[in-house]
Symmetry: C2
Subunit: 238 residues, 2 copies
């Protein structure tokens, strides 16, 4: 059954009113009619059975019945990634990381970043769309963009990695991951992190890792990381 | 150093002539000049040190010196995938699968495929571009499109999987993979494989597997599969 994301006050909510934009999208673009049923999530783990109620030209009502709650994804994966020069590459990463499953995404502006500014609203819409399409109940949190320095100084987790291709002496991400631990992984821009950034990250407790034997683009590295992290938790080999 | 792919007669070749299109691309678009050095691969494991020689308006010569040979990727991964309705999604898969590493890609037309025809030359150009960008020496082989039936009846490997989301009783791909074995994995179209296709695959020795807990788009499933396959070989945990 089709799943929609809406901002819902609480798991006890039984009614939701959609204003102009969301209402028109649901009733005009997607052609839902009064009486149609679908699923709704609040992006915070709750699923609702939903029935479209009264529809007027600019708004509509949805009747909600709580169906189930899912605990947050654990362990959590936080990917900090330098936005790519070409926006569509970053948008692919956002869509795919959401499909595969990631808890938090932080756009970080690095010394070699060619793109210094992101469109947060557009990024959020892509994540929301991917959440709905992949039928998940926890929306990845999209942080505001921040500088590499700010990010490194202000974020901690049980394990912290920096993926890069500086000299090849690092361990492979998959070998270094501790199963069951909340994890931060940083991925650099097209020109990689600088030696200064590398030093700062090491000082702040990040471990330097590689992502295998081939040279991956930034957005590929992001999707690769999400896949290996989720895949290894499922295998639970360690 | 920049890597270019050209069709080269043998590892002993010491000279290569580029005709109009390739020559103009190298000298006009990429602005290489006589005397410039770069790397060249034949896509069959051989790397050459290359120097641009004589350049005329419509052709150029490249001097080649054999540098090294790499054995073919082993174990091999052959992904058979239904082309997506939207071409850009399939093209994204081709680029990412090439970056991460895959030996063979077979576009398969399934019962529920909305796209019945691919542009083989365009697909090949995307793979070539990704090969060069990711600095690899083995070009993934792009097979001609074929029907699901043809594919299933005519291809074998040490292990063969069908990834789908039919009922959820299958094992996880990562758990079922035997390390070190040449592998075929089939990925279905947007509407998944049909029960008839599933039965035929099982009869022909394919094992049904899932790709984790979330619902992945076709192209995401392809990239996910390549990542898990390569990642587990690197871990060599089993």
């Amino acid at each position: 059954m089709q799943l929609f994301y809406y901002d819902i006050p609480s798991a006890q909510s039984t009614k939701l009113e959609l204003e102009k934009q969301d209402s028109r999208h649901l009733t005009k673009v997607l052609r839902k009619k009064s009486g149609d049923t679908f699923h709704v999530t609040d992006g915070k783990g709750n699923l609702f059975d939903a029935t479209l109620g009264l529809v007027t030209s600019n708004r509509c009502e949805i009747d909600l019945a709580f169906a189930k709650a899912e605990p947050p994804p654990s362990p959590s994966l936080h990917i900090a990634i330098a936005p790519t020069k070409m926006n569509d590459r970053m948008e692919w990463f956002l869509e795919k990381a959401t499909e595969i499953g990631v808890s938090t995404i932080s756009p970080i502006i690095c010394q070699r970043s060619e793109r210094k500014k992101i469109n947060h609203d557009r990024f959020q819409r892509i994540i929301t769309s991917a959440l709905q399409q992949s039928a998940q109940l926890w929306m990845p949190e999209l942080k505001d963009q921040q500088s590499f320095d700010q990010f490194v100084k202000n974020h901690d987790a049980q394990q912290k990695f920096m993926a890069h291709c500086m000299d090849g002496t690092e361990g492979y991400l998959g070998s270094q991951l501790e199963m069951g631990s909340d994890t931060i992984i940083m991925i650099g821009p097209e020109g990689d992190f600088t030696p200064d950034e590398w030093k700062m990250a090491i000082t702040m407790g990040f471990e330097s890792v590689n992502l295998g034997n081939t040279r991956l683009r930034t957005e590929t590295a992001g999707v690769y990381t999400a896949t290996i992290f989720q895949g290894l938790q499922l295998l639970d080999l360690k």
